[in-house]
């Protein structure tokens, strides 16, 4: 189905199932511990052996020699796979460094070997016996230093400009020129990267944990140099990904190689200490923001440059993207600056670009409001735009940022806030509130599905879409139930299998809108097949309560299926609506923090998010997405940082004791409001995404609240107590 004109009224608009708060249909599997996660799939293939990955202990250089004899001779060991004996391997375009390194080493903990043994303990013990001599090479590990050498854009990523930024900024009566820093971050999902691989002849099956089935299939085939048809990827449940499982990673490749070397199924999970340095992370940024405004609070010039580092051929963290679209200004400059760093690969983590970008931009807006003597909510409203500021003939399909800010301010009690910082004390706590805008683009990508109807009236949905904890199973079931006029109890959903039609996958908050639209498209086809089978006119057939009606005729849905059943497959494909309209999601975050007057410990007391993100397909799972994202925002603001050892070139705090993420005690009352919105430009579902929007801006709202509480303006994340101490009042 080609979607190239705005959606009109369609069966989804009945909202009998879609749009209703619906508990996860896979909930019972999870609460009973029976949802099959990759590493625990003991049932799928017999005789599984265990693989243990070995990571490089230098960041850059070469393996001079590697002695695996002791490991091979250790009890239970079946094979030791290295780049030297694995056979020729290609590198997929979506990987920057090779997944099995050697002799060249590109980053710390790059995998250099897999030990396969009868038991996990044997594999791990043998792995410790491998002796490696390295020839170290000098590397660049320090973004601050590397930044000095990078003053302009890279060839592939030119600056975006409008008007005369430099002139307008210089002429602006009120100016801000400030630099902000966000650290490297780890996805820190619960389930580690894990795979079981088994060969049958030349046919490879992997049970794994991956967000993008078709990418994994394509890239595994390419890396191994075998046809894609020979690779079967299965990933029905994913214990969190946040972008860390978008790509083929070492667990999958190593399991496949280990299985090939031993002739046995092999399972591999990356140990937690390997995850931070072996897989991808969100790269650190240094962001310079310049804003010029007139005294009445109109922005005349806005500039945002962001420095980040990556391995050679890596991409920059696009932390300036939202600045191109969020506020009006006639003169603009945005651009990324990319330095080469020999740290592990930087790549997407939940809301890549916008998450760190808004952490900086929305502090800058707060600072600017302060300079102008304007309320920060009002300052943002004053600079709203309903069109793409760089291309004014492109309107936003929907843009309710102002409504989010206004409603949020009212519900949060914003008017009670003191504009003067450090004025509000509650016992030992200095209390402050902060606001930030939330913004994340809506990305359109084709998504296919198959729908089957059987003689009992059961509807089965099959698509390679993944559920990474987000609730995909449930919204896809709701979509099919709505379209076919049946209850949720009549729908089964099968996901995460490369034998199913290729979906949008999970990432970039594009999953919900695109994958449900794909199911919508397949259901439209199935409805036509049903109508035809029943001899009904498909244009006026109504599907409801398990019955199909047309004029004064009616028949049970099951009847149309008959013994052989009916099936239909289709995909949603997009025309140029995405070019003609700017499609984005909006929100406003309001936060109250307390800062301990003595120790400067920061604790969040209250959080509110107001979101405008198209039709909310399932308010219950959407709320879960947003509060989870807000929690991640607390981590980003207050504690998460991969500490770089700039001598040895690695992230030092590579476990969950050293890399702190929020615990329950850090998370206070959270409230989420969704504005009533349908966006007919986005898809027949009129929906967009919320999973990343909920994170965007949270960090800055917290930073601004800390400033309001204490008067201290911290521009380096995470905002830990050591950065505030010297601004705190006398104790006693």
């Amino acid at each position: 189905m080609k979607f190239d004109t705005p959606a009109t009224t369609n069966p989804i608009d009945r909202l009998k199932v879609v749009g209703r708060p619906t508990s996860r249909i896979d909930g019972p599997l999870k609460t009973t511990g029976t949802a099959p996660y990759a590493y625990e799939r003991h049932d799928v293939v017999a005789n599984q052996a265990y693989g243990y990955a070995v990571g490089s202990t230098i960041a850059k250089g070469r393996i001079a020699s590697m002695d695996v004899k002791a490991a091979e001779a250790a009890p239970g060991v079946l094979a030791v796979v290295t780049a030297g004996n694995a056979g020729p391997l290609a590198k997929a375009d979506r990987n920057i460094a090779t997944l099995l390194g050697g002799p060249q080493i590109e980053h710390y903990h790059q995998a250099i070997a897999l030990v396969v043994a009868e038991s996990f303990e044997q594999a791990r013990a043998a792995a410790a016996l491998i002796r490696v001599d390295y020839t170290r090479a000098d590397g660049a590990f320090d973004l601050e230093r590397a930044r000095e050498g990078v003053t302009g854009p890279s060839k592939d990523d030119p600056d975006s400009t409008l008007g005369d930024f430099a002139g307008a900024f210089a002429a602006a009566p009120i100016q801000l020129d400030a630099t902000y820093r966000t650290p490297d971050q780890s996805h820190a999902m619960m389930e580690p990267h894990a795979t079981i691989a088994a060969w049958r002849g030349d046919q490879l099956t992997v049970w794994t944990s991956n967000q993008m089935i078709d990418w994994a299939t394509t890239d595994l085939a390419k890396t191994l140099g075998i046809p894609k048809e020979k690779v079967h990827v299965v990933s029905p449940f994913v214990g969190g990904g946040f972008g860390g499982k978008l790509f083929l990673r070492a667990d999958t490749l190593l399991a496949a190689l280990g299985a090939r070397a031993t002739g046995r199924p092999v399972k591999v999970a990356l140990p937690r200490p390997l995850i931070m340095n072996n897989t991808t992370h969100r790269p650190a940024t240094i962001q310079r923001i310049r804003i010029g405004a007139t005294p009445d609070g109109r922005i005349t010039a806005i500039g945002h440059e962001s420095w980040s580092g990556n391995l050679p051929d890596g991409k920059p963290e696009n932390a300036v993207d939202q600045t191109r679209l969020l506020y009006a200004a006639p003169n603009r400059l945005t651009g990324t600056r990319l330095a080469v760093l020999d740290l592990p690969e930087g790549n997407a983590m939940r809301a890549p670009g916008e998450a760190p970008g808004l952490m900086a931009l929305e502090i800058a807006m707060d600072e600017m409001a302060e300079k102008l003597g304007l309320d920060p909510v009002e300052f943002r409203i004053r600079n709203d735009t309903q069109v793409d500021p760089e291309k004014p003939d492109r309107p936003f399909s929907q843009r309710q940022l102002v409504e989010c800010l206004r409603l949020g301010a009212e519900r949060f009690g914003w008017s009670r806030r003191s504009a003067q910082p450090a004025r509000n004390r509650d016992g030992r706590w200095l209390v402050g509130t902060g606001v930030a805008a939330a913004f994340r683009n809506n990305l359109l990508t084709p998504s296919a599905a198959r729908v089957r109807l059987d003689k009992h009236g059961m509807v089965a949905v099959e698509t390679d879409m993944t559920d990474i904890g987000t609730g995909s199973y449930t919204i896809l079931a709701q979509t099919a139930a709505e379209m076919m006029g049946v209850g949720l109890d009549k729908v089964v959903v099968r996901l995460g299998d490369s034998k199913f039609p290729v979906s949008a996958g999970s990432g970039g908050q594009w999953g919900a809108n695109n994958s449900t639209a794909g199911v919508y498209a397949a259901c439209v086809k199935l409805r036509e097949a049903v109508a035809q089978k029943l001899g009904f006119n498909s244009a006026d057939a109504v599907f409801s309560d398990g019955v199909v009606r047309s004029g004064n005729r009616s028949a049970p849905l099951a009847q149309a299926a008959g013994d052989p059943g009916l099936a239909a497959e289709d995909a949603i494909e997009y025309g140029d609506l995405g070019k003609r309209y700017q499609q984005s999601t909006f929100g406003a975050h309001f936060v109250e923090v307390g800062v301990d007057a003595a120790t400067a410990e920061i604790r969040v007391r209250r959080m509110l998010a107001v979101c405008a993100a198209g039709r909310i397909l399932n308010p219950l799972s959407a709320r879960s997405q947003v509060i989870g994202a807000m929690t991640m925002g607390v981590g980003a603001a207050l504690m998460e940082e991969l500490a770089v050892d700039t001598r040895a070139g690695f992230f030092v705090n590579h476990d969950l004791a050293g890399y702190e993420v929020p615990v329950h005690a850090d998370i206070p009352h959270q409230e989420v409001i969704f504005l009533d919105e349908t966006d007919p430009i986005s898809s027949p579902m009129k929906a967009k995404g919320v999973g990343e929007l909920g994170l965007c801006g949270v960090g800055a709202a917290i930073a601004n609240a800390i400033h309001n509480a204490t008067g201290a303006r911290v521009r380096d994340y995470p905002i830990t107590l050591d950065k505030l101490l010297d601004r705190m009042p006398e104790v006693g």
């Binding site: 791990r124 013990a125 604790r603 770089v644 004791a657 702190e660």
Partner: protein
């Protein structure tokens, strides 16, 4: 993890004797620290002696009015004991500030005293660490040292002792009761139990090889307001950046011990004479000769400020 043999000892003396028989043997109590270290091969004992069945899990009153806490008493049970809560509130508070409910259910009194540092370089076997591998250097010095010691460190090691419980024990003047492989028993004052790193950071306590802790005794209660304040980046389940344990008497005198600042729970009795003069004066003495890194220099004002808050709270 390397293969190891395992036995259950039947009496404390037998456990100590068994430890002496097999070089590098280790006792295992709750296992919450030892097993993690064995998985990473930071510890590689060829033989484990399980001390859980030794009936060392009771808390008894001593003739002089104190408490004798068995080495195997779980942190949860110790924190919840009515006598501890009434007479040694500092200990109960410190225990409850540590780890998580699940860990405290397993963690034992002796194991807690003997838990090893959380220095991330100690945990990464590819990195230099004098504590893990004597003579290999110290990764933390010149590296990521935000958590590390500001006093009592050496050129060989700037690790901290991570225990909360031990800070309270230090302020309460606890004594560690042991039995040696030859059956001899001794009492080690807590002040002498943990060592500074010097040039042998791998030797952390006064225990001799094979020496088993059987109990920790507390002298009779000293009264006062007893507070424990643990400062950290997140609200729970994190090691202290700094912690302050204090006992404050109505006349303003008292005791102070610090966590998160040194290789051992940090107390300098002479500093306590300054207590009536306030936190600044006490902190100045406690931290005299401090040698922080740029990344952890904030701990100096943080100690003073936290102590100030604790003393203010004690006054009510």
């Amino acid at each position: 993890m390397r293969p190891f043999t395992y036995e259950r000892a039947r009496s404390p003396a037998e456990a100590a004797a068994a430890a002496a028989r097999s070089q590098g043997a280790k006792f295992i109590a709750g296992g919450t620290n030892l097993l993690d270290l064995m998985k990473l091969e930071i510890e590689a004992p060829p033989h484990l002696i399980d001390v859980n069945g030794l009936a060392l899990d009771t808390i008894e009153a001593t003739p002089d009015g104190g408490l004798r806490i068995g080495a195997l008493v779980r942190n949860t049970d110790l924190a919840a004991d009515g006598r501890v809560r009434r007479d040694y509130g500092l200990l109960s508070r410190a225990l409850l500030a540590g780890a998580s409910g699940q860990l405290r259910n397993k963690a034992t009194t002796a194991g807690n005293l003997l838990q090893r540092t959380r220095c991330p370089y100690f945990y990464d076997t590819a990195q230099p660490c004098n504590k893990r591998q004597p003579g290999s250097g110290c990764g933390a010095i010149g590296g990521f040292s935000r958590q590390h010691a500001v006093v009592g460190g050496s050129e060989a090691c700037i690790a901290t002792h991570p225990s909360d419980m031990a800070v309270a024990m230090r302020a309460l003047d606890a004594t560690v009761e042991t039995v040696k492989p030859d059956g001899a028993t001794r009492s080690i004052p807590i002040a002498d139990f943990h060592r500074l790193p010097g040039d042998t950071p791998h030797i952390e306590t006064a225990l001799a090889p094979g020496e088993l802790i059987v109990a920790v005794t507390l002298p009779k209660p000293v009264g006062g307001v007893q507070l424990y304040r643990k400062v950290r980046d997140r609200a729970s389940y994190a090691f202290a950046l700094v912690s302050v344990g204090a006992i404050v008497q109505p006349d303003g005198s008292g005791r102070v011990a610090l966590g998160g600042v040194a290789h051992k729970p940090w107390r300098i009795e002479a500093a306590e004479a300054e207590m009536p003069r306030g936190a600044k004066a006490v902190a100045a003495q406690l931290l005299a000769g401090a040698n922080p890194t740029p990344a952890n220099a904030f701990k100096l004002p943080l100690v003073e400020r936290t102590l100030g808050a604790v003393l203010a709270e004690a006054k009510g």
